[in-house]
């Protein structure tokens, strides 16, 4: 352990220092550090339920109370009946039958316990979930995908190692979203390749503005010829010059590589396309499958965060929940099956998560309540008040598939009466991240030195993987 950590940090820091001093490259992706954890996965897909997905109305149903005028909200734990899954003793909320049918391939855990960040806000909790650190932070914290990209490099060198699907930055709180969609101090090389609209993903690997491939290639040829004919040789062939030319080659390699086909959803048989096409998120899952097959190291697909939209159900939660379940149920189940069929599920860790959960009456968590953001009437008179509208942080659902994760298992327990909190085996972000890194063979105290401060993949290097989750 000591050797690994020390030697690696030494290399890393030397590279960082040289980058600071002279603009030289940091540690190259090819210099994969040697760790002594045997990996069970070599790639990751995060399915991000942006906005706060209520566990009691999705993967952890409790006592069902149908809507009636005049009912007391505190009597409502779930607004849907529970349905059986393929796993004995595990029930899901109605509307998630397809995912329920593939749970023999994965683990359900409802004890994700979000960080105590005070006043509960999507922006801070999303940042915390994706970086392991609570904002604001004195150095730019990298997204977990950037850590993975930096540490392990690309699988297929023609493809970016970290691809993020489905999030626009023209929504409310866009700045807060941008703050964690970044490689931070690791350097932009490892940052997310953003695909806002999966249906149009192919445009990110096509020549711009409708330019045909012939002209595109000619243009690059012209560039190379002009450089060759120029007197730059007289300036000495420095690193900066080479990195410019090399990165142009890399970009053109992606755009002309067979791997670029992975971005083109029109390549899919109509039946498959339609099976996934429940909306942008569904197509995002299809794109994720194609990119995973083509060798992308880290993929995140989001339902897309937009204040008060999708999982951010501050009103009308029950009604909206039906649509949300339709949005995710079929494509996620299909993704798991497709990965399995292609022999990829064994080495792909799929994680479904959200920044926190929701409850009908409780904001925060027992013993640490925060200011209510949504008023809940004494008795329910309108359907729009029927739903999980408040932020709850003491439990939350995670689904884990593949990558060495146990199959057909439920991990941890939550209470069956309000507060439906974690009662056994909580998982915090440090543990979840450490578990993901562990699956990839990366120790939780792997890190780099930045400004004299050691900065690790999990906060202060202290994350502990939940080894019980592995089969």
């Amino acid at each position: 352990m000591s050797l690994r950590r020390r030697d690696f940090l030494k290399t890393a820091s030397a590279a960082t220092l040289s980058a600071l001093a002279a603009g030289a490259p940091r540690l190259a992706a090819a210099n994969t550090p040697k760790f002594d954890i045997a990996p069970t996965a070599d790639r990751v897909i995060v399915l991000w339920m942006a906005g706060g997905m209520a566990h009691t109305d999705t993967f952890d149903p409790k006592r069902y109370t149908p809507f009636e005028v005049g009912i007391d909200p505190s009597s409502v734990l779930s607004t849907f009946p529970a349905v059986e899954t393929v796993v004995d003793g595990v029930k899901f909320s109605e509307g998630l039958e397809k995912i329920g049918a593939v749970m023999d391939r994965g683990t359900i855990c409802n004890t994700y316990t979000a960080g105590d960040l005070g006043f509960i806000l999507h922006s801070r909790h999303q940042f915390h979930w994706h970086t392991g650190y609570a904002p604001p932070i004195t150095v730019a914290a990298p997204h977990i995908g950037a850590w993975v990209a930096k540490t392990l490099g690309p699988i297929n060198p023609d493809l970016p190692a970290f691809i993020d699907i489905g999030q626009k930055f023209t929504v409310g709180e866009a700045e807060e979203l941008k703050a964690f969609h970044t490689a931070g101090f690791l350097g932009s090389e490892f940052g997310p390749f953003m695909i806002a609209d999966p249906a149009d993903a192919v445009s990110s690997v096509r020549p711009p503005g409708g330019m045909d491939m012939g002209r595109f290639q000619d243009r690059n040829k012209l560039f190379k010829e002009l450089v060759k004919a120029s007197p730059i040789g007289e300036y000495g062939s420095g690193y900066q010059q080479e990195s410019l030319l090399r990165s142009m080659d890399n970009a053109h390699r992606l755009l002309t590589s067979p791997a670029a086909k992975a971005f083109d959803l029109s390549d899919e048989p109509q039946e498959v396309y339609e099976a996934y096409n429940t909306g942008k998120f569904g197509l995002g899952c299809l794109l994720a499958r194609r990119l995973c097959e083509a060798g992308t190291r880290f993929i995140e697909v989001t339902t897309e965060y937009e204040p008060f939209k999708r999982w951010d159900t501050h009103e009308n939660g029950h009604t909206r929940m039906k649509d949300l379940k339709t949005l995710i149920d079929a494509p996620i189940a299909r993704l798991v099956l497709d990965l399995e069929e292609r022999g990829l599920l064994d080495n792909t860790l799929v994680i479904l998560a959200s920044e926190f959960s929701r409850d009908m009456v409780m904001e925060g968590k027992p013993g640490k309540l925060v200011k209510d953001q949504v008023p809940v009437p004494q008795e329910l008179t309108e359907l729009k008040h029927y739903g999980m509208h408040r932020h709850f942080t003491d439990a939350g659902s995670l689904l884990l598939f593949g990558g060495g994760i146990k199959k057909g298992v439920k991990y941890g327990e939550t209470a069956d009466e309000r507060p439906c909190r974690t009662v056994d085996k909580p998982i915090h972000i440090e543990e979840l991240h450490a578990t993901m890194y562990h699956a990839l063979g990366i120790p939780a105290d792997h890190g780099y030195s930045i400004e004299g401060r050691p900065f690790y993949v999990t906060k202060d290097g202290l994350g502990k993987p939940v080894t019980e989750l592995f089969g």
Partner: protein, 659 residues
């Protein structure tokens, strides 16, 4: 104040107590041993503390022992005094004398480590002989070279056994000078004028002329200061008033060349709301831990930005990498706090009130009973006082690094590290102080030196360790320079500026802006922008700094300014190359540029190609280049051919790099 210079530090940060190493696993100094020593011993035996002459912060110190002899025998814990004093039942001998004594696990860890021969780590702190003096030190160069920089460098070269660098051509010099001072590339006409001038001293005069261009200077240097002062049009915190822009004030300050000491005082103790955004920091909605709060941000940012020192570690615990302590950081932060602060170590309140004070008590005290405004004014005074050497050194070093690629001290935010030329650094700093903290004069001093004109060295030929100055480093265009260079070649600038030039603040323009903002607020953003996506809509020379970052400028290194940025990342990356190759931002810019060039050009295709080379690369094309370009552009200037040539030229290393 004693400074400890660290090579590289990886010391555990806010670690909880590490248990003894597991069976069979080697003890790791960094992970297992250091946290124990840091918690129990460093208060008296590290940093500038040497109780009993014992220093436990370095390997040398540990081996040397105390005034009364060795404290450890590597390989033999039983013979090591250290083990005895931490385990003894004799209260008079017991270490630490106060506080929690070491538990069994900790004792076992230290024992195992000593028995294993005290494996050390080369990367751990080494004591340096260099101590940066607090006051600036005047020195006289041996050389009688007329320019301050060249005189000190002549001594240096002699000592190093090196020759002075070869001077670059007029064209390369002009390209450097224009880009460094106004952020633009010189036009062919400007180049020709400069070439025609055969009188001595013309290079110095060019520098002076460029610096006299108030607007050109201000527009270019805004980006540097925005990075440094973490100021932007958008970002986290603005959503609910947790952040304020200082853009108007900053532009005005640069335009008028406000003296740097006064400039900094206005940022630390803002006389009006216009400059208060910096010291207020970024406050996210919600409950923030003490280390994230405004006062602590103020202390850290004052330290980093103006004094070139890092208080980030010491805002959470006594720093392991230098001598700054938690108490000192809190005392500084407390001066910016509305309420008296309590000390918090790694998120644990210590139940002690923080004091008030500045980092170097020898410069003066801060009376905690004064109201906040007076306390901050006192801090502003102490930061900018003439006795505060790090203040002038830090900005001098930053400007040097910008113009020549690498600082006289590195990293730029550790001004207490050993400079490769301490006398030069202090001479420049003293000159800067004597000039009345004149930033433009500082740039002039550096840029009129011979050294600034030396041939540039590729970064890869520069050794980090044992750095030797052999000339400027090859640099990348910044994102803003890239955009502006292309714009100045073609006359197609940015759309939708977020900053209106003071001279443009006519009632009509303000009304137009208001209408645009209204349209954007009403969800008609696209409509509002549509008119700007034409050549005509983009004739006004709006420089790139005046618009928010986009995917291309970010790929080119423009930072999000969520943290203070003192140096941008300028490595060619694949994501950047993808933006170049198929990003829509550049493609649209190129399309509009080609349209504007095409429509506005009466001459021949050859003439256009030559002009593009002269304006973009500051040289005429070679015959072969002209032929290649002509082949794609064609005799009648084919639009697509022109687009492709423009693209290829902007991708060219000679365009993107400053040689």
């Amino acid at each position: 104040m004693k400074y400890i210079v660290l090579s590289i530090t990886f010391i555990a940060f806010c670690v909880s107590l590490a248990p003894a190493a597991e069976d069979g696993e080697a003890v790791d100094y960094l992970k297992d041993v250091h946290p124990i020593l840091a918690e129990h011993c460093y208060a008296c035996h590290a940093g500038d503390k040497r109780k009993g002459g014992l220093h436990l912060g370095t390997h040398e110190g540990l081996l040397k022992g105390s005034e009364s002899g060795p404290v450890v025998v590597p390989g033999n814990s039983a013979e090591s005094l250290l083990m005895e004093v931490i385990t003894t039942s004799d209260e008079d001998l017991l270490m630490p004398p106060k506080g929690r004594r070491l538990n069994e696990a900790e004792v076992a860890t230290l024992r195992a480590w000593i028995d294993a021969g005290m494996p050390w780590d080369e990367s751990m702190p080494k004591e340096s002989t260099y101590q940066a003096p607090l006051q600036l030190q005047a020195a006289t160069p041996q050389s009688d070279a007329p320019h301050l920089v060249d005189a000190f460098l002549a001594d240096y070269l002699k000592a190093q056994g090196l020759e002075a660098g070869e001077l670059v051509s007029d064209n390369l010099f002009a390209r450097r000078a224009y880009l460094d001072i106004t952020g633009l590339v010189p036009t062919p006409e400007e180049l020709a004028t400069f070439a025609r001038d055969k009188t001595p001293g013309k290079r110095a005069r060019l520098i002076q002329t460029l610096l006299a261009d108030d607007r050109g200077y201000a527009e270019h240097w805004m980006s540097f200061w925005n990075d440094l002062l973490r100021n932007d049009f958008q970002g986290t915190g603005y959503i609910d008033g947790g952040r304020k822009q200082i853009t108007d004030w900053l532009y005005d300050s640069l335009y008028k060349n406000r003296p740097y000491d006064e400039f900094v005082r206005s940022l630390i103790a803002p006389p009006t709301e216009a400059s208060e955004g910096f010291i207020k920091g970024i406050v996210w909605r919600g409950d923030n831990a003490i280390v994230q709060q405004s006062a602590m941000q103020a202390a850290r940012n004052v330290g980093q930005v103006f004094l070139g020192l890092n208080l980030k570690c010491a805002s959470c615990h006594d720093s392991f990498v230098d001598d700054w302590s938690l108490d000192q950081t809190f005392a500084l932060a407390n001066c910016f706090s509305d309420e008296p602060m309590e000390l918090v170590r790694c998120e644990t309140p210590l139940g002690k009130k923080a004091g008030y004070g500045f980092l170097w008590p020898e410069l003066g005290d801060v009376d905690g009973s004064l109201p906040k405004a007076e306390r901050t004014a006192k801090i502003a005074e102490l930061v900018t006082t003439k006795g505060n050497g790090p203040f002038a050194r830090t900005i001098v070093n930053r400007v040097w690094a910008l113009l020549l690629g690498r600082g006289i001290v590195e990293p730029l935010d550790s001004i207490d590290q050993e400079p490769w030329h301490p006398e030069l650094l202090d001479a420049l700093a003293l000159d800067f102080v004597e000039s009345g903290y004149d930033l433009r004069k500082l740039i002039e001093t550096i840029a009129t030196s011979q050294a600034y004109q030396w041939r540039a060295i590729p970064a890869s030929e520069i050794a980090d360790e044992e750095y030797v100055f052999r000339g400027p480093t090859v640099r990348h265009l910044s994102a803003e320079q890239f955009y502006d260079a292309l714009a100045s070649m073609t006359g197609v600038w940015q759309a939708n500026p977020k900053f209106i030039m003071p001279e443009d603040k006519t009632p009509e323009e303000l009304a137009r802006q208001e209408a645009l903002a209204k349209a954007a607020a009403g969800g008609k953003n696209e409509e509002a922008k549509a008119g700007d996506n034409t050549v005509e809509g983009r004739r006004t020379p709006v420089r790139a700094w005046r618009v928010p970052a986009d995917s291309l400028s970010k790929a080119l290194g423009r930072t999000a300014r969520e943290q203070v940025t003192t140096r941008r990342e300028t490595v060619g990356t694949t994501l950047q190359a993808l933006e170049f190759s198929n990003g829509t931002t550049l493609f649209q810019q190129i399309q509009l540029s080609a349209e504007a060039l095409d429509n506005g050009w009466d001459g021949t295709a050859e003439g256009l190609i030559i002009r593009l080379y002269e304006h973009g690369l500051q040289r005429a094309p070679r015959v072969e280049e002209l032929q290649l370009a002509y082949r794609i552009v064609g005799p009648d200037v084919r639009r697509e051919g022109l687009e492709d040539l423009l693209w290829a030229l902007t991708m060219h290393p000679e365009f993107q790099l400053i040689y």
